[in-house]
Each structure stands twice: as C-alpha cells, then as structure tokens.
C-alpha cells in the first residue's frame, strides 16, 4: 500500500488521540489490510505494534472467511474480551482497521460509539485525494542513489558466509 497520507496523517492522528481521551483507552491504532501500522495514539511500553498490526490484519482476513461461510460479506467489528484488557477492532473504509485497547469493560458502549464516529471521519480522510507534495519534498529520495545504498545494506546484512553462488536460471 502506498501511503500518501501526507496531508491526512495529522487528521488521522488527531482522531485517534481524541478517541483515547473520550474512551479512556490505552492505545488506538490504524492498521492497513496488509498488516502495517499507519498511525497510533496513546501507548503501552510493552506493546509490540508491528506484530500486533500483522496479527490483526490476519485475524480480520480469517474473520472475513468465517463471515462468508455463514452468508455475510464481512463482520465489521471484532471484540476480544480479556481479564484486564480488551480489544475493539473495526473496519475503516476498505483498506484499514482501527484497533482500540482498553481496560474498563463497562466502557464498551462508549468505545463502540466513539470508534464508529472516529472510523467514519478517518474513512473520509483516507478517501480524500492525496495532497500534492512539493517537488523538493518528493525529491528527498533520489531513486538511483537510494537503490544503490539499500542494495549495499542488503549485501552487508543478509550476508552469505558460504562463498559459492548457487543461483541457477533457466
């Protein structure tokens, strides 16, 4: 997913932050269907958001298949109830999911309402055309040089101890 959120990301972050304030949640995140964390507000030191994003994307895809089996197109909300912490996950538009982690389960109603409201605003932001970037901003990646340096990193970090080059090509 190309993330042209240049003009929208501050709006998305603001919505996620407001969601935290209005619900008393610990953290809220926006995750792409491909499993990448696009934005987050609040925080938990111990929370691995990279892994969470990958897993939530997987969960939602699996749930979509479950929905298909019972004759639904998809389930738009997933709720995971734990002993201390709970997760509310909702679809945002066609490409993203919003995750809210909260502790006070009596606030589930509030979480639902606020997540729905924030989701609608974020969905509109995601659908807005990307803001044009100034040429000098776009030019901050000079592709040939970027590739050369990135390939050097790949060579160095994914290093091959065995010198033999076993690559074949038909």
């Amino acid at each position: 997913m190309r993330n042209d959120l240049s003009g929208q990301s501050s709006g998305i972050h603001r919505e996620l932050s407001e969601l935290i304030v209005s619900t008393g949640a610990l953290i809220s995140l926006l995750i792409s269907r491909e499993g990448v964390c696009l934005s987050q507000a609040g925080g938990l030191a111990s929370l691995n958001t990279t892994a969470l994003a990958a897993l939530v994307a997987g969960m939602f895809a699996a749930t979509k298949e479950v929905a298909a089996i019972v004759g639904e197109n998809q389930f738009s909300i997933l709720l995971q109830q734990g002993e201390k912490r709970h997760i509310h996950i909702s679809l945002v538009g066609k490409r993203a999911m919003m995750v809210v982690v909260f502790e006070d389960y009596t606030r589930i109603g509030k979480v639902r309402i606020e997540a729905k409201r924030a989701g609608e605003v974020i969905s509109r932001l995601l659908d807005a055309p990307p803001v044009e970037r100034a040429p000098d901003e776009e030019g901050d990646i000079y592709l040939p040089r970027f590739k050369e340096y990135a390939l050097n990193l790949v060579d160095r970090i994914f290093r091959v101890d065995e010198e033999e080059d076993g690559v074949h090509q038909l």
Binding site: M1, R2, N3, D4, L5, S6, S9, S32, R33, E34, G35, V36, L38, N48, T50, A51, A54, L55, A57, G58, A61, A62, K64, E65, R133, E137, E138, D140, I141, Y142, L143, R145, F146, K147, Y149, A150, L151, L153, V154, D155, I157, F158, R159, V160, D161, E162, D165, G166, V167, H168, Q169, L170
Partner: protein
C-alpha cells in the same frame, strides 16, 4: 507495493515465503532470524499447531537501517502450506513485494510443488499482482533428502523462464541467506516511488 510513509520516513517491503506444506518455509524464517543480529531483527511470531505446522503465518520484521533519511524495513511472512488454509494464503500475499517459493525437492513431491505454485499465481492474479514482472525466487529445498527431483523440473513443468533458483538445505542454513539476499535485491531493483 511497498508501504511508504513520508511522515514517519519509512519504507516497508513485504516478502512472502510460499510453498507446499512441510517444504521448509518456517525453517527458512527461523534460520534467518537466528542469523541476524538483534540490532536488525524484531520478534519472531510463530503461529503453529501442536504438530508444528503453520496454522496462520509466521512473521518477523527486519530493520536494515536508514537510506536517504528513510528507515528501510522488510516484513517476512510465511504462508501455511496446507491445502485447506486458502484464506490465510490469500491474505498474506496481499501487498507482497516479493515471493520466495520454497519447493520440496524430494522425489514424488513434484506434483505438490506444481499445484502450490499454480495456486500462488492464482492468488497473485486475484491481488492484481503483475506476475510476469514480479520478484520471485525459486528455492529447491531439502537437497539432502535423496532421491531428488531435478533442478529445473518445476520450471519445465510450468513453462517458466527467467525465474532464478537456488538449492538449499534450510535445516542446515544452506542457501537460506542467499535466497533472502536474491529476493531482496530484486525487490529493491524493481522498487518505484
């Protein structure tokens, strides 16, 4: 297509290890994770069944460092190889930037490899991935378990040309990092903004 965040200054590439059940996809990921310094690797997530077969997917992120002010990351995924996990497979290929097809080289497994490769192409077409120009590396794994299928036999059966292939024994780490390096190199060479 790579995920690019101009705000956070990061570029994330998604690599997927595809292949039939028990061909060694998870073994590849475990080896890579063990080889990389902690500085570069994130936690390895393994979702398997009691019989150590991947149920959902395995995953870990690699942070290569910064280039031109952008943090470069690779997210490595395996798919569950078993035939009935079609939904997970489809999901994991979504947004992929490169694929390693891990083939089982044992004689008698050619048909399973062919079937899995065809399934991969079908899933890629579903995701509108341009198959002909997409970075794919074919890894002939389990080269220590004779009798073996011939190198090139999968390509011949499927009429593939131009797909690089590597011999591997993932359980000993042989060919694993070469495979990763090869697919990553192709992914970066084909990267467009």
């Amino acid at each position: 297509m790579a995920y690019i965040s101009f705000e956070d200054k990061q570029i994330v590439f998604k690599l997927v290890y595809f292949g039939p059940g028990m061909s060694g996809k998870t073994t590849n990921l475990h080896w890579i994770h063990a080889q990389l310094s902690e500085k570069y690797r994130g936690d390895l997530l393994v979702l398997d069944t009691e019989r150590e077969r991947t149920l959902f997917f395995d995953f870990f992120p690699v942070s290569l460092g910064k280039v031109e002010n952008y943090a470069i990351k690779f997210h490595l995924y395996t798919i569950p190889g078993q035939i009935h996990y079609e939904a997970s497979r489809r999901l994991i290929l979504e947004g992929a930037d490169g694929v390693v097809f891990v083939a089982d080289s044992r004689a008698g497994h050619l048909e399973r490899n062919i079937q899995s490769y065809r399934m991969m192409i079908d899933n890629m077409v579903d995701h509108r991935i341009p198959v002909d120009s997409f970075p794919i590396v074919l890894q002939y794994n389990k080269r220590d378990l004779e009798p073996l299928i011939e190198l090139g036999s999968i390509e011949r059966e499927l009429g593939l040309t131009g797909i690089p292939s590597i011999e591997a024994i993932a359980s000993e780490g042989r060919g694993v990092m070469q495979t990763l390096r090869l697919v990553s190199t192709e992914v970066i060479q084909k990267f467009r903004m």
